[in-house]
């Protein structure tokens, strides 16, 4: 099988190029296995990867125009010719490795941590199963970046629009019955860019490897803003 991979090394290349490799396939082969095979043939090829089972979020890449996690993408389901590129819209450091700084900055910007102002009990803060269920579909985000780097609004305004991953986190804490910073969180999202640049294009939902739905989370934040009259 032929696999075409994006190559760029600032130490040696003036511009990026696509390079073809011939890779032997096997039953159950994932895209990561193919990239590892490329690495075996050519150790100068770089990409991030680690857990190999879709939980660490390291190996997000763009294959045939779609953002995926390489380790859980079966080669058999990809249409030939297979073209693997770095995430769109991010500065390329080398080969498939992109600079995710802005993505992480947006994550930090939504204050992604539980804020509890009341004195803490000696035991756990009680939370009913129904309240806890509200966090399903939110806390599972692995920060792989597939969603935000597939989002046109994030491409155009990465410094201002928080993007789907960060906003999903924002809602994860707004939805948590234990969190007591609702107003501050909503105030901080006010204005035309941070939240409202989401135009419900739904690329994020389309590509999320964990099946999460940032668009819905963003909608819920908007609803809550209306409700609170912020």
């Amino acid at each position: 099988m032929k696999i075409s991979v994006y190559r760029y090394n600032p130490d040696t290349d003036t511009k990026p190029r696509m390079q073809d490799y011939e890779v032997k396939t096997f039953q159950g082969m994932m895209l990561r296995d193919a990239l590892l095979e490329v690495k075996k043939q050519d150790e100068s090829f770089s990409f991030r990867h680690s857990c190999g089972e879709g939980v660490c979020g390291s190996d997000g890449v763009n294959v045939n125009g779609r953002n995926v996690l390489a380790c859980i993408t079966p080669i058999g389901e990809l249409k030939a010719p297979i073209e693997v590129r770095p995430f769109p819209g991010r500065p390329v450091i080398r080969d498939l490795v992109v600079d995710m700084t802005q993505f992480y900055e947006q994550y930090r910007a939504v204050k992604p941590y539980l804020v509890c102002k009341d004195p803490l009990p000696e035991q756990e803060i009680l939370q009913s199963p129904q309240e806890r269920d509200k966090l399903d579909g939110l806390y599972e985000c692995i920060l792989c970046g597939c969603c935000s780097t597939a989002c046109p609004s994030f491409w155009w305004n990465p410094e201002k629009f928080h993007g789907p991953a960060a906003l999903l986190q924002s809602w994860r804490f707004l939805a948590d019955s234990r969190d007591q910073a609702t107003e501050e969180r909503l105030d901080a999202l006010d204005g035309p860019y941070k939240l409202f640049r989401c135009h419900s294009i739904m690329n994020c939902v389309e590509v999320c490897p964990k099946g999460l739905n940032p668009t819905r989370a963003i909608g819920k934040i908007k609803d809550l803003m209306l409700e609170k009259g912020v």
């Binding site: 089972e53 660490c56 204050k111």
Partner: protein, 587 residues
């Protein structure tokens, strides 16, 4: 040498559960703390822990930390240090509450308390009925905890060096550790981080085996750094094979599946665990279940064309339980084994999973080794916590749900002890130039060009050798052969060359440095295992089938220099309660 230098009160190497929990204590005390991680922190392998964290909260069934302690001592096959175990089991309770307060989305019971599930080797009343002690966030507990700890560190303004690889520890003229040389992966430039105290929290080394549940990054970097600094590694022969990895691949299927009522069957559809552990059955401890599976396969009762795995049956639990409590493993089974556990059983086989041994520490996370008059003299300014460390709470076999607990409790404690240490030792020691040059030499070595074996080939040969010669069952013959092969591979390592000499994000260079680390750690496993002539916990020798407390109730210490072995006694005296003397271990 003109290397850029940064100064911190404390340096933490590794951003998994132990490192981040330590960092949180330090940042909370307004100390300047640097966390160096070779991957973005939420990529640390803590993220993959599935089943949960043990604490005797008694939310579901009656419980006490003392029962938890008994189970852990028994689970360790009496090799665990009982003072450290008592301490961990007591601390488990406030630790879990603290995590909950920090935001961990634990699953809940109807009364609003944290959900707890059954796990292997956990009992009520000192070996009685099955306990429900494992606090879980569905089957993504590690993910939930790691992300929460990272988030709280953002809040505490911990200083992160993301994607920096630690090359080696550095010392002052007196030989005291005073920081580390690290490499910025993106630029390929070295950076010296000077610190008053250094914590190694670099996790495990499952990558030394070919089939493993461990991530690509788990290459034993911290343990190898300790070895090179002259520190021995303790109890390295005890490496856990998790009973249920996806057959042929190794991805983990949590013990929580069996805690929720799943069970193993062989090709005849027989629930074979009843023969090996009549009472606990599928919830016997991991060493027992792994051996049972390998025995079934060896005796011709394995499933599939080659008869080389068994089946984990879950379909009787119903879709509702599986989607609510085990959504992650359903996903993994579908992706990697092509089966939906709601309908069909999952093919499983033991997979290299967890290092019980590591850098020897006391229960405050301080690295301690034989020196002067004692067998446990503190190495000034150096700490270790998490899987890379051996406070000796797991002994010869770790119980499920105790690894998250270990990293959290001892990470937290190490953080607290570092605070005291830094306050008492407020001055930075000067790095000795010879020590720095030695560390730089590690980098320089890979600048050699010319012909030689590739890192990839040596790595593959090495991991295969470890798998073939240090697996679930080990005999003198198999291990001696393995040791000789490892020596050959170690001799070839200096000939290895990199073809890629560029600086920017050179992952080939990182993998070369990792291979050096893995070979040192792999050798420590092989040598320690060859010497221990008994079967205990995860170390199973058909040629010495019995546990031999007379000769071997002691910790092993492996020194890199000359592959030397030393031993030290097990601490059998707990802090406040009666000791649990060794007895026959039945489940």
């Amino acid at each position: 040498m003109g290397i850029p230098t940064r100064h911190f009160d404390a340096l933490i190497i590794g951003a998994g559960g132990a490192g981040l929990n330590a960092a949180l204590q330090l940042a909370g005390a307004d100390l300047r703390v640097a966390v160096v991680s070779k991957v973005f922190p939420t990529r640390s392998h803590t993220v993959a822990a599935q089943g949960g964290v043990n604490a005797a909260l008694a939310n579901v069934l009656p419980d006490s930390w003392h029962w938890h302690m008994f189970d852990t001592v028994k689970g360790s096959d009496y090799l665990g240090d009982q003072d450290a175990i008592e301490f961990m089991c007591r601390e488990a309770i406030p630790t879990v509450y603290e995590l909950e307060h920090a935001g961990v989305p634990f699953s809940r019971l109807d009364d609003g308390k944290i959900y707890q599930r059954a796990f292997g080797g956990q009992s009520q009343n000192f070996g009685g009925d099955q306990a429900a002690r494992t606090c879980a966030a569905a089957d993504r507990t590690g993910h939930a905890i790691l992300h929460t700890l990272y988030q709280q560190n953002i809040r505490a303004r911990t200083h992160f060096f993301d994607e920096f690889f630690a090359i080696d520890l550095v010392r002052d003229a007196e030989g005291i550790i005073c920081g580390a040389l690290v490499l910025e992966i993106e630029t390929g430039e070295p950076l010296l981080i000077e610190s008053k105290a250094t914590l190694l929290a670099t996790g495990g080394w499952g990558q030394v085996f070919r089939t493993t549940s461990n991530a690509h990054i788990n290459t034993g970097d911290g343990a190898a750094m300790a070895l090179r600094a002259g520190i021995p590694l303790m109890d390295m022969e005890f490496f856990q094979f998790h009973p249920t990895g996806i057959a042929g691949k190794g991805m983990l299927i949590t013990e929580g599946t069996r805690g929720e009522g799943g069970y193993l069957i062989n090709k005849d559809g027989e629930r074979f665990m009843e023969r090996y552990a009549p009472r606990a059955k599928d919830l016997a401890s991991r060493d027992v279940v792994s051996r049972a599976i390998v025995t079934e396969v060896k005796e011709g009762r394995g499933c599939g064309e080659n008869g080389d795995y068994v089946m984990l049956k879950l379909d009787h639990l119903g879709e509702a339980v599986i989607s609510k409590r085990l959504p992650g493993i359903r996903e993994s089974s579908q992706i990697f084994a092509g089966v939906d556990p709601v309908i069909e059983p999952i093919p499983v086989f033991p997979t290299a999973h967890y290092a019980m041994g590591g850098i020897p520490t006391d229960r405050f996370g301080r690295v301690a080794m034989p020196a002067g008059h004692g067998s446990e003299e503190v190495v000034v300014g150096l700490y270790a916590a998490g899987e890379c460390a051996c406070a000796s709470v797991h002994g010869a076999n770790r119980l499920g749900g105790n690894s998250l607990l270990d990293i959290l409790v001892f990470g937290r404690l190490a953080g607290k002890d570092i605070i005291d240490y830094v306050r008492e030792n407020p001055y930075q020691r000067a790095v000795d130039s010879a020590s720095l040059e030695q560390a730089m030499g590690r980098l320089g070595r890979w600048e050699q060009t010319g012909d030689g074996p590739t890192v990839g080939q040596l790595r593959a040969d090495f991991r295969k050798c470890m798998e073939d010669h240090a697996g679930v069952f080990r005999t003198e013959e198999i291990m001696t052969e393995g040791y000789n092969k490892l020596c050959e591979l170690r001799d070839r390592l200096p000939e290895a060359r990199l073809t890629d000499q560029s600086k920017v994000f050179n992952t080939a260079r990182i993998e070369a440095l990792e291979l050096e680390n893995m070979m040192d750690v792999g050798m420590s496993i092989a040598v320690s295992a060859l010497h221990r002539q008994e079967s205990r916990g995860a170390h199973s020798r058909p040629d010495h089938p019995a546990r031999d407390d007379q000769t071997w109730l002691k910790h092993s210490l492996y020194y890199r220099e000359g592959d030397r072995m030393d031993y030290k006694p097990v601490r059998t005296k707990p802090l406040t309660v009666e000791s649990f003397p060794p007895k026959e271990r039945v489940y």
